[in-house]
Amino acid sequence: MAEEKHKARTIAINTIARVEGEGALRVTVTDGLVQDVELRIFEPPRFFEAFLQGRHYDEVTDIVARICGICPVAYQMSAVHALEQIFGVEVTGSLRDLRRLIYCGEWIESHALHVYMLQAPDFLGYDSGIAMAKDHADMVTRGLRLKKAGNAIMTLLGGRSVHPVSVKVGGFSRVPRRRELEGLKDELLWARDAAVATVRWVAGFEYPDFLPDSLFVALRASGEYPFNEGQIVSSNGLQISATEFERHFAEQQVSYSNALHCTLHGSPYLVGPLARLNFNHDHLSPLARQILAGTGLTLPLRNPFHGIIARSVEILYALEESLRLIELYDPPPSPSVAVVVRPGSGTACTEAPRGILYHRYRVDADGIIREAKIVPPTSQNQGRIEQDLRLFMPRLLNLPDKEAALACERVIRCYDPCISCATHFLRLEIERE
């Protein structure tokens, strides 16, 4: 072990690997004390909120899907729910179920990608899922097939898995026949078993002992694990509807990042699978609850490294839920309900794979978007990533720079940050008479 030789030292990661989008990290240490931790999101801003202004409301789903290739359904879902609130449209019954189902597909696809291809290599000592396949071919193949099962749901309902095309205000442009959905069943049953094995597999990894103080935020719905609906709840007692989001959550710009930092009453907080599971484990399916209990972990989970376990439990839940929804499915009389345009403002929050995703729109009498605001999960988690790195850093200070940097990257990957998402939100406050 080296003595305190690092008078002033900078640990830098120029490109954070195995995350979506482009980010970097800069940590400065003086006299053995961590000074600054800067998660730099240099992914260029893409001005989505500005592009939405002046577009017709029925174009929104195609545009916001392009914010993220990994979680386009989340953007489409938050958008349609916010717009439906403006028009007073209610989507119920099997159309509502289909929205839940396509969201399940996205969770399975996104979570399986992260668990197997992006994060598991950290625990097993590989640079990538592809490299891991040399020694663990069965595992990687299982992960890819799980991911494919999620994509199959998205493709059937949405036409394709990256940027699906069928979601619209009021429902879908086309809904599947019963037998099309039933065609998915065999593969989903296989995937359910694979998901059980996944939870057991990741629960056996070695985890650093790390329990930062955590403020968790997620949706909480009555009687079901949350996807599209629910109250926003926090571990310090907040319980609000999406309409009140901006009264409690605020975004700040920092000089070193193209993404805004979002805080709750000034504090950083955590959204995503860990937060969701902590608030909603009572709404898991019996099998998912049983498998989670079998890991021996006690809730609430506070170790960010356990995110991979929460994600795996959610894969299992999403598969169980998909099978349930397919069993229930009774094709609706029409793929969408009628929409009558009226002017107004609407908000919605849904649970993207990485956590709550907030949208607000203002629409005029012609159905044209006049204002849009989008707060993605990664902007919300940024402050927490920095805070947790600051707490974790002291145990890395005796490592050579390269190893310390690698360890920091492992911490960052726990949050499954989606940097592409995080740079598309801009605060657009335009006052018009």
Binding site: R18, F47, H56, D62, R66, C68, G69, H163, S166
Partner: protein
């Protein structure tokens, strides 16, 4: 970790995958190869793919896949370095090939965006236009789509590895609808569809889902008149206006979308922008 000596393994072509301004969807399409992904990793030496691997090795690369458009001063330098290191450079997706959806900024005042939008606009480095890779460096092959089609990507990589010149079809989506027996959404439902002027590649996904094509694969090329002929956007736009009663600004919006900055779509949208102003 033990590393086997690669003395017996034939030299595999080195692949680098680079990202500029984009949503990651086209890189995800590579990971979505699923069944073929591990084979791809055996056939090609994936030397640089930060989205999926921490093992980031320097060039030269036999093949560089580039996702995303150029939108920052730094991007303009980085793409030169990618080009220098790559034998064959392929753009993947609408952003890299056409400027992408972020090219909508090309009609706007980006400085004003930044001032209105960020409390401290001076921190934000962003060019006034989003431009395709081909405006900066020589591009050997362009793969269209938002997102790209996995099958097309696989075919292109296979052809390249085998030293075969790749050709991908560029006819309009309409042809695919006829082949698949999809009822025309424009004729039957009166929905303004870009299928007649949009390049094939997706397999007519949108009409198959009961809605209009919105131009993900960019302008079609070639027609009964011969190869390289641009699509007849003017005729389609007139049909939108006279036949389907779209007002000029609605015709404009149809063309100014995912691939709005590509010449045939860009010029058509500008025609209707002028018509809208004159009305």
């Amino acid at each position: 970790m033990e590393r086997q000596k690669e003395t017996t393994t034939p030299v595999r072509p080195r692949l680098g995958i680079f990202k500029f301004t984009s949503c990651d969807g086209c890189q995800l399409s590579i990971l979505n190869l699923e069944d073929d992904l591990l084979t791809l990793g055996q056939v090609l030496d994936i030397s640089y793919f930060p989205e999926a691997s921490s093992d980031m090795r320097a060039g030269p690369y036999d093949i560089a896949l580039v996702e995303g458009s150029i939108t920052t001063p730094e991007d303009t330098h980085r793409i030169l370095s990618v080009r220098e290191q790559a034998k064959v450079l392929i753009t993947i997706g609408a952003c890299a090939t056409a400027g992408g959806i972020q090219a909508l900024r090309n009609w706007a005042d980006v400085e004003a965006f930044k001032r209105v939008v960020y409390p401290n606009p001076q921190y934000i480095e962003s060019l006034t236009a989003s431009t395709p890779i081909s405006e900066h460096v020589r591009v050997d092959f362009e793969l269209w789509g938002c997102p790209i089609d996995r099958g097309q990507l696989l075919r292109l990589l296979t052809d390249l590895s085998a030293g075969v010149q790749s050709r991908l079809p560029s006819h309009p989506v309409c042809v695919d609808c006829k082949r698949r027996g999809i009822v025309c959404v424009m004729v039957a439902k009166g929905i303004p569809c870009l299928g007649p002027v949009t390049r094939t590649g997706c397999g007519a996904i949108c009409p198959g889902m009961g809605r209009d094509c919105y131009g993900c694969f960019g302008p079609a090329e070639g027609s009964v008149l011969g190869p390289g002929v641009p699509p007849n956007t003017a005729s389609l736009a007139k049909q939108f206006h006279h036949g389907l009663q779209l007002i000029p600004v609605e015709v404009l919006r149809r063309f100014r979308g995912i691939n709005g900055s590509v010449k045939p779509f860009r010029e058509e949208s500008q025609v209707w922008e002028r018509l809208g102003r004159d009305e």
